[in-house]
């Protein structure tokens, strides 16, 4: 299998000059193409920090992150933004769709930033919203959708740019059981059928149960990394 993400000796220290807080204490992690991985651990264990560093949203104090063998720590701010646009899909806890755009336009948006043609955008939007079960809601704005529907649009948006992998930070934190189950089914299906790589941070046992691989963080260090035989 191809290695998509390689995290090498990552350390992250906040307030290094006053009272240092060590969020990550030398993390090594390798994610292969097509993996469905959950990052778990208690609050403050460093899950979100690690996701942010992998996603190029935050910089490590030490160490490096290689995405498809490219060291993203060496990219400028503008290059990082372009890199995220082309290679990484994000799903946030609070959905974070653009409130003034419809579901269709939200999914289309990243492709528009990529300069894709209208025909290509239309076809992909149709496929993705169909895949997440929202073909009937394409013209609704976020405030006309339920939380679960919004998060499904967010997943479709994350996949619109055909990223190398999707990072999802607590994607089910605001969802009820039914919506969580639906969302997990959709992501598992996309992972299984289209070989899309997912990396979650989560507290949610329902998500952990569906993960193929579970990486546990505690106090900024990986304390276990195991395969989950019953995942997905």
């Amino acid at each position: 299998m191809k290695e998509v993400i390689k995290v090498q000796a990552i350390k992250k220290t906040y307030n290094a000059e006053s009272i240092p807080v060590h969020a990550l204490r030398g993390v090594d992690l390798s994610i292969q193409q097509g993996e469905f991985t959950a990052l778990v651990g208690p609050s403050g264990s460093g899950k979100t920090t690690l996701l942010n560093i992998i996603g190029g949203l935050d910089a490590a104090t030490e160490g490096s992150v290689l995405i498809d063998q490219q060291n993203i720590s060496q990219l400028t701010d503008s290059q990082l933004i372009d890199f995220r646009k082309e290679h990484i899909g994000f799903v946030f806890q609070a959905y974070n769709l653009i409130p003034v755009l419809t579901a269709k336009e939200n999914v289309e948006f990243v492709m528009l930033l990529q300069g894709k043609s209208q025909a290509e955008r239309d076809a992909r939007v149709k496929d993705l919203l169909g895949a997440v079960g929202l073909s009937e809601q394409i013209d609704r704005r976020p405030n006309q959708l339920s939380g679960g529907q919004q998060q499904r649009v967010a997943v479709a948006r994350a996949l619109a740019s055909k990223p190398k992998f999707v990072l999802a930070d607590e994607p089910t934190a605001n969802l009820d059981s039914k919506s969580t189950a639906d969302l997990l089914d959709i992501m598992a299906k996309l992972n299984r059928e289209e070989n899309i790589t997912f990396l979650f941070s989560t507290h949610d046992q329902r998500v952990i149960d569906r993960a193929q691989r579970i990486v546990t963080l505690e106090d900024g260090a990986i304390i276990s990394d195991e395969q989950n035989a019953i995942g997905s």
Partner: protein, 405 residues
């Protein structure tokens, strides 16, 4: 898509947008109304003065403007006449010979301004015949005068009564004559009404001993914009050693100064007004930026470049301003145009003040496009400057910190 997002964002909070747009609307409306009335009134004043007497330009013998003596009179040669008439926009030349004279009737003697005119050309320029309130207008070969109503009242004289005129003529010659009153003319300006006496040009030249001479040659030009171009062209070609050319701005500096003074006080008032409105808009933009900090961070995270996001927020702010300005401009244009067609009549002391300047006591407005364009530009500049605030936040924003906060 950028424009679509910006436009929809403007309407995310309809009430806030409408309140902000209303503030801009009233600022624009007030500014346009103030500027439109100011320009309308002063343009009317200038136009009135120009049409009544001075014209948009005058050719004088060099030194006449300062000394005001008949010794600085000149003869209108064919070559000078051709040179002046060859300038595009100069329709005709209106000659005058003017000086002060003592006017006497019975036991009363008063100072007067005695002006020799070509009755026909003068009438085309100033419409003097329309001011005749009693008697008849002059003919070129008349040996008679037109006298202003105020002066006639002081003398208590009527048509066919004879006025004695005494003055100093060309090169110190004694000037004296008796002339019957052919007509009485009325002016709005009390000053003119109390001093003016008109003679046909040839009669005045004979009276002053200045055969064939003129003190002033008024250029009859249709309008202000043509006048500015024609005067500029003439200034290049006129023999500056013998003649001088005065345009309307030089001839009525007091009106120009008064207009500038009024414009300055208006500008200070509008500055205060726009400052208040600017702080209002700024408050809205600060609020909007704070509310959308998380959203901006998400957009940066999913791959929108800072410059694109900056463009969207700048557009939103400018669209908000332009929307308010646009409805303000439309409403104020309609209002000012209506008042231009149906002027407001001025009454009381204000009417007296207007008439003192020889102006019809009505409030004129101007609908010059630059008045409206200036407001659009002002709002555009203000909103563009205010938009620097969210732009600054976006350029300094770290997505992770913004999402965490």
């Amino acid at each position: 898509m950028i424009l679509k997002i910006a436009w929809r964002n403007v309407w995310r909070n309809k009430r806030r947008t409408l309140i902000t747009a209303a503030a801009i609307f009233f600022a624009v409306l007030f500014s346009v109304v103030a500027e439109s009335f100011n320009r309308g009134i002063f343009d009317g004043m200038i136009d009135n003065t120009v049409r009544f007497y001075s014209g948009y330009g005058q050719v004088l013998k060099k030194g006449y403007w300062e000394e005001r003596t008949l010794d600085k009179s000149f003869e209108l040669s064919d070559s000078l006449s051709q040179q002046l008439l060859s300038i595009d926009g100069v329709d005709q030349l209106v000659p005058r010979l003017e000086s002060f004279a003592l006017a006497s009737y019975g036991k009363i003697t008063k100072s007067s301004m005695l002006v020799g005119i070509d009755p026909s050309k003068e009438n085309q320029l100033t419409g003097l015949s329309k001011r005749v309130v009693k008697g008849a207008y002059l003919k070129a070969d008349d040996q008679a005068i037109l006298i202003s109503e105020g002066l006639a009242n002081k003398f208590k004289l009527d048509i066919q009564d004879t006025l004695v005129l005494i003055s100093q003529g060309y090169h110190g010659v004694n000037a004296a004559g008796k002339y019957p009153v052919k007509g009485i003319v009325s002016f709005g300006s009390p000053e003119l009404n109390a001093t003016m006496v008109f003679l046909p040009l040839a009669t005045a030249q004979w009276f002053y001993g200045a055969e064939g001479l003129l003190s002033t040659l008024v250029l009859d030009i249709e309008n202000k914009s043509t006048a500015e171009r024609a005067v500029a062209e003439l200034k290049k070609t006129l023999n500056a050693d013998d003649y001088e050319l005065k345009d309307w701005k030089q001839m009525m500096p007091e009106i120009i100064e008064m207009k500038a003074l009024k414009e300055s006080s208006n500008k200070i008032m509008l500055l205060v007004l726009y400052l208040i409105v600017s702080f209002g808009i700024f408050g809205v933009i600060v609020m909007m930026t704070k509310e959308r900090q998380y959203e901006f961070a998400v957009l940066l995270s999913i791959g929108m470049q800072r410059r694109t996001l900056s463009m969207i927020t700048w557009l939103e702010t400018v669209l908000l301003g332009v929307f308010g300005a646009l409805i303000g401009i439309v409403a104020s244009y309609a209002m000012m145009y209506y008042i231009l067609l149906n002027p407001i009549k001025v009454t009381g002391d204000m009417a007296v003040a207007y008439e003192k300047f020889g102006i019809e006591p009505i409030l004129l407005t101007s609908v010059d496009l630059d008045i409206f364009a200036n407001q659009a530009i002002t709002v555009f500049v203000i909103t563009s400057l205010i938009a620097l605030y969210p732009l600054n936040k976006i350029w300094k924003m770290k997505p992770v910190d913004a999402m965490r906060s």
